[in-house]
């Protein structure tokens, strides 16, 4: 095959790729923060004693986890206006990604909550803390440390899922790559550089999460 690699077109548009990458990261960070709050509430509901709270949280987690995220993305952008909810593409994508990450994080946090010994809650009650105080100042901080490894892999897959925003023309990394690909026809080079950028970013996320894990580890 007489294909010679020529990265000139890709380097010429590298700024465009980088701004796409920045947008991907931004979407991921905002969604994971909102998703963590949703996931925390859902996990507390899943481990509560209230039957209705458990059932509704379970319904949310099961439904979201069994749906393709692309269907959710398209639904939020194209179908929700029919229900009178009109969001722009960035808002609707963040909404979907937050709800999506919330469902996955709910399971992660639930496992974390179950690993916290019961004695800690009892100790909190004994010194007169309310249920809310026990959750926010004893259980949640301990649980978050425990779940950091799974949190890191959820964050990475969330970051990769931002590529779906390309389907509704949000100019993130995949969208930028597609545009360069179509305009320059430097197909192999474009996708090599793009996937290199994704892989490198995933690597950085994993490394920094490991660093945080080390810093936050409880002395044993």
């Amino acid at each position: 095959m007489g294909y010679t690699l020529n990265f000139a077109a890709v380097w010429r548009n590298f700024d465009f790729l980088l701004s796409g990458l920045a947008l991907s990261l931004g979407l991921a960070v905002v969604s994971i923060l909102i998703g963590a709050v949703i996931g925390l509430f859902a996990a507390f509901a899943l481990t509560s004693k209230n039957r209705y709270a458990i059932a509704s949280a379970q319904l949310y987690v099961t439904v979201i986890r069994n749906l393709p995220i692309l269907v959710l993305v398209l639904f939020a952008y194209f179908a929700m206006p029919q229900m009178g909810v009109r969001l722009d593409k960035m808002e609707s994508f963040v909404l979907v990604l937050s709800l999506y990450s919330g469902a996955y994080l709910a399971e992660v946090f639930r496992a974390g909550l179950l690993s916290i010994p019961k004695g800690l809650t009892e100790a909190g009650l004994a010194i007169g803390l309310t249920g809310m105080q026990i959750r926010s100042s004893i259980i949640a901080p301990l649980m978050l440390r425990n779940v950091l490894p799974s949190l890191s892999s959820t964050t990475i897959s969330l970051f990769k899922d931002t590529s779906l925003a390309a389907a509704i023309a949000v100019p993130e990394l995949t969208f930028a790559a597609r545009k360069i690909n179509v305009e320059s026809f430097r197909v192999v080079e474009t996708w090599m550089v793009t996937s290199g950028l994704y892989v490198a970013t995933c690597f950085l996320i994993a490394a920094s999460m490991r660093f945080v894990e080390g810093r936050l580890a409880l002395p044993r």
Binding site: P68, F75, K160, T162, A177, W191
Partner: protein
Amino acid sequence: MSYTFLEQFWIARYVIMNGLGMTVSISLLAILAGSILGVFVGLALVYGGAVLRLTVRAYTDVIRGTPVLVLVLASYYVSSAAGVDLGPFSAGVLALAIFCSSHVGEIVRGALQAIPKGQTEAAKAIGLTFTQTFTSVLWPQAMRQCLPSWVNTAAEMVKASTLLSVIGVAELLLRTQEIISRNFMSLQFYFLAGALYFIVNYGIEHFGKYVERKTALPS
């Protein structure tokens, strides 16, 4: 003249069924090819020599660090640029199979490494060859370990098959979009597609739990 949703659904019934059939065939092909390839990836990661292990590790890390949509687009565009005209269907299935293989590879690696070393030593002690040890001691145990995550991956593949709509494969999601572009009932038909995907994945999940119960060791 305007039709109700049920009438529109009746008009589009074959199109939807076709799309669902396409989704199922894409997923089945990708899971099958990906699992076979993935078993070799897992074996190479555990038993391979240094060079092979490093190569395969690089392969899995790159695939796992790349979004599936990028794999699908890259497979589609690169194959045609390389002069092999795969067409959207084969290119998409290839991308999903590669994605699946990296996940199955990690699952197999984890399962094999979780088996206590004593098992291999015991097998050696009674004079089994490596092949015998593997096929009758290690593999049956690893399979049980793999099952839950493998079922998860299968459900993941069904969800990932929606991405083939982006390169024009007429699976369920693309069919749904076509129907919506004719009748503008986006709410109803996205709901319908979502329900169908939910049923398929929920079914896979429960079938997996059933198989798990059936193959569980008596305790």
